[in-house]
Each structure stands twice: as structure tokens, then as C-alpha cells.
């Protein structure tokens, strides 16, 4: 069968640095082609070439039989290619519907937008995604999860023949992911081809027909999803084989270091339900404490509250090693030995105008002072230490942070917080966009931290992850604690059941 998309010996360089060395890639009509690879393998770059974002590259791109080279994203769109970028691309001020149809608004007599039609179409699509907020609210009122759904809806609204999804589920929980999969399957049955990029291998087995594996800017294998075992796949990605399933060894101590009592966070908007409602729990020294819940369950809000964000809306008692903390801002939290890795990398994680090193040391500058001055030596040393501890893939610490691949950016952020030597480490979606290999290292690293006595509280939308590494898992439902499981008793089913909204 003639492939819908065929890319041959694609070469792409950024300011002289080659990141794609002759990639081969093809997608058949009506198939779901998974594209996997380590962070920085070049997946997103390859897809940006398909979508016409990058114009300067060498190689052949055949779409629907004929050789093409898209001068702009628009051209690719018109050719029938839709893409969901790895980073969210929405206009905060515009409504959900306006965002979905931006640049393609249905208009009457030249230029006048037909809002009725637009909202109707938007509603239909978002319903298929079980998105229950109105499509007429600005996306700025959605959290990252909701926004991810809008991105997906936007891509669907193009009803393209080739749909590229670059880590669409990274902000979605299992439940929403399921919804997405049904949509994907339906599209496939309608003959739409889909390129599906994800670091969650189990997802691939659920929906992918074939898998293309990339490593270091090269294609290292194409095979049918059912023909390859998870283990083989991983070793193909990382170029060596290793223990695939991480098992957390080592027990946390008995003594409780972190105690939360009746934590409540009111919603700034009067009338809406409290974001957090009377939450109490305890974390022991060296424990890895997981927080599960559906999108909107308030995990992020909880971690924020523990970090002193929006303190004026928060009530309740927080104790660290027996001392009550009265956190009115993040600074005090950091001084108290708490660190928060936020879930929104671009929004409130990175400083894009700073280079890798500066991003990494931002929160720990105090340690680098020498006679009240930042000592470049110390700074460089600290950065290098963490770069190889977390094996961050960066050519030069002086490079702009944006030149790193998504996963490596995430690692830099983690390093940034580890550099503050926290006693309690709050992680919101720490493995978002991190490849299996890196994840594995991360797990090992986290448990090493735990061994050293650091208490870790993490949320993740990937249940298997929580299940494998957490000593205990607390489930949130609409801002309330709905269940608390020990490592042994916790199972996917129990958690999902506890998380599902009370009927």
C-alpha cells in the first residue's frame, strides 16, 4: 500500500549542530504509527518538519504520493496535516472555540465571524472528548489539563488526513487518556493516519499498529506493535538493555516529618467549590508519597498550597519536623526546606531568557555566594555536578534552555530543585515528557534521595508510575481525600474507582 507520508534521509541542524542525521519515516493510510525514542532523539523536530514549522532542512518529504516542502504551517494544514505540539499553543485571552478555529474561523459575507456555527462545531468536538466546561470561556481559565484537551480538539477540528500527536497525554490522566484513545480508534477507522509520540509505552500497545524507534536523530527500527516486547522496545530506544520494571527497595523510617492538618483552599472566584477541602495527611522521613486523581481533582492546588502559593486563600496547619510552618510565600517554603517542581514547564518552570546553567542555579544562588558575590566557579561546579548526576544531555551549559529537548528541560528543572537540598520535595508531574530510560534513572535517583531521608510528595497522571515507586498513594476527588492506599494494597482499579466522581 502506498504510504500517505514518506520521509527519506531527513537532515536537520540547528545553528550548525545536526540533530537529525538522515531519518527514514513513513506512515500508511489509516494506521496509527507510534514514534518513540529517548529525550532529544529528534521526534518533535521531525514532526515540526512535517508540519512546516521548520523550513531549513534537507531530504525528501513525500505526502500523498507527491514530493512536497511546506513553506509554512498553513500550507501543511491545507495539505491535510494537523499537529498537536508538545508544548501547549493556545491564546489565553480567546475562548475555547476561538482557539480551536483560530485562523480558520467560519465567516459570513467576508470577514464577519459566524459565532453560532463556530461554537456549535467546537461544542460537538469537545463533547467527543468529554470536555464539560463551556466552549465560550477563555482558555486562561482552564488548567493545563483542560488546555491539553483544547489542543486536541483544535487538531480534530481540522479533520486532517494525517494527525500528529506529540505527547498528547502528558497532561492527561488515565481516564482522559482512555477517552482520547477511543477518539483515535474512531479516526483510524475513518481512514485517518495518526503519528503518536509518547513516552508511555503501555499506551502504544493499546493503540499503535506500528512503531518507529528513533535514537540520536536516526531511525533504528520499524516494526508491528504486537511483534515487539516492551523490553526489546526499550533496549532499542536506549541502545542497551536494562532492568525494565523499577521496584522500589528500602523502607521509609517510622517518624513523621511532614504533617498536614485540615488544609483548605478556597476558590478565588466566590461561589465555586473550594479547590481543596479539609485535607489531612502525614509523610514519613524518606517516604515517597503519591497523590493520584483525575484532572481537576486539585493535585496541583494541593502542592501549591504546601509551597506557600496563594497563601491568602489557604487555611490549615502544616508541620515540618514538629515545627508549625506559617508559609506566606514560596521563599519561606524554600527556606524551610521545601521544593516544588511545577507541572507547567514553560509557564512557571523555565526562564527562557536564561541559559541552562542560570536556570539550574536560580533557586540555590545562596549557596554560591562568596563574599556576597555569585562565584562563577561554584556556579559552574554546581551545574556540572547535577548535569552528570541526572545525565542531562546538553552540549554547553551556556546554551539557551530552549535548545534542550523537552525531557532534558524537565531534568534541568528537577536539578534546579535538588540543588536547594530540600527536606521535602514536591513533584507535580515530574516525569512529564521524560523518556523511559530517563524515567528509570529518575526513579533510582528519587529512591536514593529517599534513602538519604528526603520525603517526596509527587503527583503523576501515570498510575503505573505511582504504583511502582510510591510507599503510599493518596487519592483526591474534587479537592477531598477519597482514599489512602499502602504500596501493597494499591491497585489501578482501586485508585481509579476512588478517583472517579461520586455518581
Amino acid at each position: 500500500m502506498e504510504p500517505l507520508l514518506r520521509m527519506e534521509s531527513i537532515i536537520k541542524a540547528f545553528s550548525g549542530v545536526r540533530v537529525l542525521h538522515g531519518v527514514e519515516f513513513e506512515v500508511l493510510p489509516g494506521e496509527v504509527m507510534a514514534l518513540v525514542g529517548e529525550n532529544g532523539a529528534g521526534k518533535s523536530t521531525l514532526m515540526k518538519i512535517v508540519a512546516g514549522v521548520h523550513q531549513e532542512w534537507q531530504g525528501d518529504l513525500h505526502f500523498d504520493g507527491e514530493q512536497v516542502r511546506f513553506p509554512a504551517t498553513r500550507a501543511a494544514e491545507e495539505a491535510g496535516i494537523a499537529i498537536i505540539y508538545q508544548e501547549l499553543n493556545l491564546v489565553p485571552g480567546l475562548t475555547v472555540a476561538e482557539n480551536m478555529f483560530l485562523g480558520r474561523e467560519p465567516t459570513r459575507f467576508g470577514g464577519v465571524i459566524d459565532y453560532a456555527a463556530m461554537n456549535r462545531m467546537a461544542r460537538e468536538i469537545m463533547d467527543s472528548l468529554h470536555f464539560d466546561d463551556p466552549v465560550t470561556i477563555p482558555v486562561s481559565e482552564l488548567r493545563i489539563g483542560g488546555q491539553q484537551l483544547v489542543e486536541i480538539g483544535k487538531a480534530l477540528s481540522l479533520d486532517a488526513r494525517l494527525l500528529v500527536m506529540d505527547e498528547p497525554t502528558s497532561a492527561l490522566t488515565g481516564a482522559e487518556a482512555e477517552i482520547l484513545f477511543t477518539v483515535v480508534r474512531k479516526l483510524r477507522s475513518d481512514g485517518v493516519s495518526i503519528v503518536y509520540i509518547s513516552h508511555r509505552l503501555d499506551e502504544l500497545y493499546q493503540i499503535a499498529d506500528r512503531v518507529t524507534v528513533m535514537r540520536d536523530g536516526r531511525t533504528v527500527g520499524v516494526m508491528n506493535a504486537e511483534d515487539i516486547s516492551r523490553r526489546e522496545l526499550i533496549s532499542l530506544m536506549v541502545g542497551r538493555d536494562f532492568e525494565q520494571f523499577f521496584v522500589r527497595e528500602g523502607e521509609p523510617d517510622e517518624d513523621v516529618v511532614f504533617r498536614v492538618r485540615n488544609l483548605t483552599r478556597v476558590n478565588e472566584v466566590p461561589g465555586r467549590r473550594a479547590l481543596l477541602d479539609d485535607i489531612s495527611f502525614e509523610v514519613r522521613r524518606g517516604e515517597q508519597f503519591g497523590i493520584a486523581g483525575l484532572l481537576g481533582s486539585g493535585r496541583t492546588e494541593l502542592l501549591e498550597a504546601l509551597f506557600g502559593v496563594a497563601a491568602r486563600d489557604t487555611r490549615g496547619r502544616v508541620e515540618l519536623e514538629g515545627v508549625e510552618l506559617d508559609l506566606s510565600n514560596p521563599r519561606q517554603a524554600i527556606e524551610a526546606g521545601i521544593a516544588l517542581l511545577t507541572e507547567d514547564r514553560k509557564g512557571n518552570g523555565l526562564v527562557l531568557s536564561m541559559n541552562v546553567e542560570q536556570n539550574l542555579t536560580l533557586a540555590a544562588l545562596k549557596e554560591l555566594l562568596h563574599l556576597c558575590m555569585i562565584s562563577p566557579g561554584k556556579e559552574r561546579a554546581l551545574a556540572e555536578e547535577y548535569v552528570d548526576r541526572l545525565s542531562i544531555d546538553v552540549a554547553d551549559l551556556g546554551n539557551p534552555i530552549e535548545s534542550l529537548s523537552g525531557g532534558n528541560q524537565q531534568k534541568v528543572l528537577l536539578a534546579k530543585w535538588l540543588a536547594t537540598r530540600p527536606r521535602v520535595l514536591l513533584l507535580d508531574e515530574p516525569t512529564r515528557g521524560v523518556d523511559v530510560g530517563a524515567k528509570h534513572e529518575l526513579y533510582i535517583y528519587l529512591s536514593k534521595l529517599a534513602e538519604e531521608g528526603v520525603s517526596i510528595i509527587m503527583t503523576s497522571s501515570e498510575l503505573p508510575e505511582l504504583l511502582s515507586i510510591c510507599d503510599r498513594i493518596m487519592v483526591l476527588r474534587e479537592g477531598r481525600v477519597s482514599a489512602l492506599f499502602d504500596h501493597e494494597e494499591a491497585t489501578q482499579e482501586k485508585i481509579l474507582h476512588a478517583a472517579a466522581p461520586a455518581a
Binding site: N89, L90, L94, L102
Partner: protein
Amino acid sequence: MNGLDEQMTGTTSTARGLARRLGPFLGLIGILLAGVVLNGQTFLSLYNQLNVLGRVSIIALPAIGMTLVIISAGIDLSVGSLLSLSTVACAMLLMEREWTRATSITVPLFILFALMVGYFIGRGILIHKGHDRKRADIVGLIAGLLMAVAVGLWSSAQVAHGFSTIAVLLIIPILGLFLGAFNGVIIAKGRIQPFIVTLGMMSAAMGLAKFIAGRGGQIHPIYYQSAGYSAEGTVNIAPQSFDFLSSQVVIHFTLTRLRFGRHIYAIGGNEETARLSGVNVDRVKMMVYGICGSLSALAGVLYCASYSQGKPDAGATWELDAIAAVVIGGTSLMGGRGTVIGTMVGVLILGYLGNILNLQEVPSEVQDILKGVIIIGAVLLQEGTLLWWLRGIKRKRIS
């Protein structure tokens, strides 16, 4: 940014959105009440009201244009100079009966404009009719040339006996359109911050104004008695009010209903996304700055009409007034948010403020101080920050 607002001010975009929407109106009501309380009848008198309207109707136009620019996350410092430039050009066109620098700069632009319009319309129609582009191009070109010739003849006919009111109303805004669009081109194609580009234009246009006004390199304002566009007495604010009301309505409609308008918001909100979504960012920017420029030029004509003079420094520092009005009107300088109605309210607030202070015979230096305080106060109020502080205090007391 918005995320920041939410987390940090503790008011969600809806809440502060509300404050933003209501703030200006509250401010206006406050000012009006103050006016009534302080000056009672005098303030309310139709005469006084018309005066204020007449005054603000000029600054209103650049302010409206500025609203578009600011919503697109830009800024335009050149409106003041463009206004000055066009007062000079306008006055000369109306007064002189020979071929002057004013004519030799405006008329060619006018003709060029006619050419372009003719071309695009002609071409558009044919393409719409489904003819092939080549054909359309040729026909368009012919149409354009015809229009150009017509316009050329007409405007050179004007020169002989001084330009008519309609003529200036047509020709001057086009001068502004081109200069504004030039801003847009540099900003869009050169990817340079609007602030600095328009700062450059500010200086250049001012120089141009002096140059045009100057005879033999010397400069002086041109006064003319027959205030072409203005009737006698208070009536003369009518046409102005008409101008600015109509342009307000048009722009408001553009922003709320037109694709072009929404794209301005999109660019202001997230330019990269807009671009990736296939919005023709560069063209939109060009148009936005072009519109802003032409509105400023139109304001220049009104200025000429109501003060029967053209002066190279007529609009000095007006850009700041315009921006102040826009911001007081609740449009965010971060771009992506804002309304023209808000801007009108902002303009009125500033207008009434000056009026009331004058009626109170407040000395100028005190007026300056008060103005500063009130500008800041207005924004504080409307950002909902005050409310938020109060809330915080209240909450503290509870716990």
C-alpha cells in the same frame, strides 16, 4: 502572564476581568459625580458638556487607534507627531493655492493609494468570478491605473484654488495610513520592538512636519480663518463627534465580530500560536499600525478644523495622553485584552478631569500632581487590586 495574575493576585481572570470591565465606568461615574458636586450647574450645562466633547473628540481618534495597537501587544509613540504632521499638511492644503511641499508629499501617496485600491478591487472581483490570476492581475492593474489617473487629475485640480474640505478629509488620512503602515512593516518584517520603531517614527514625522511647514527651510505654523471643516459656534463639534463616534463604532465592530479583529487579540495574546495557526501576523500588524496612523492623521484634520491652525508641535506628548486613556480604559499593555468602549471612557475621564480642575481654578502645578495621582488611582481601582487588598484584610480579621 495570566497564570501569574491568577496565582499572585489571587483574583481569577474572570474576577479581575469584571473589575477591568466595570472599573473604567465606575471611574467615569465618580468623575461625573465629582463634577456635579463641585461645579453643579456650570458643569452639567449643555455648553460645558459640548466643550468637553469637542476637546476629547480629537484625542479620541489616536486613542482608538492606539487601542488596536496595544491589544496587538504593541505600542505607537508616533501618533502625536503624525497628528502634528497632518495638521501642517492639512492647513497648507487648505490655504495655499500653489504646489507646495505638502501637496508634493500627500498627492503622490494619494495616487499610489488609488492605484493599489483599484488593483486589489479589480483583481479581487475577477478572481472571485473565477478567472485565472494572470488575467485578474492585468485587469486589476488597468483598473488601478484608471483610478490613479482620475485621482491624480482631481487632486491637481484641487491645488489651483486650495483643497476642499472633502479633499483633505480623503487625502490626509492616507498620509497617516502610509506612515503608520511603514511602522507596521518594520515591526513585522524586522521583528523590532514597536516601542523603538515608533520612537524613531515619532522623531522622523516631527522633522517632516517642520520640513513641510518650513518655507526655505524655515518653519512656521499656518493659520487660516475659514475653518474649512468647522461650522460656527458650538455646532462645530458636531462633525468631530460624528467622526469619532463613527470610527469608534466601526473599530468596535471590527474588534468584536471581524476575523481581522479577533486575530489582533490572538497576536496580542500569543503571537507564536497565532502564527502557527496560520494567522497572517505580519499583514495584521501592518494594518493595525496603518489604521492607527490614519486615525491620528484624521485627528490632525479635526485639530485644524477646530483651531484653524497647523503647527509642527500641535500633537506633542499626545501619544502619552492617548496611551493613558487606553490603559485607564482597561486595556492591558500586555496585549490580548481590551475594548474600544473602555478607551472612550478613558478619554472622557481624562477630559472631564481637566475640565473640572479648570472650573475649580486649580493652579497648573497642582493639576499636574492630581492628574498623576488620579491616573494611578484609576488603574489601581480597576485592576481590582484595592478590592483584593480589602478582601485580604477582611480575611485576616476572620482567621
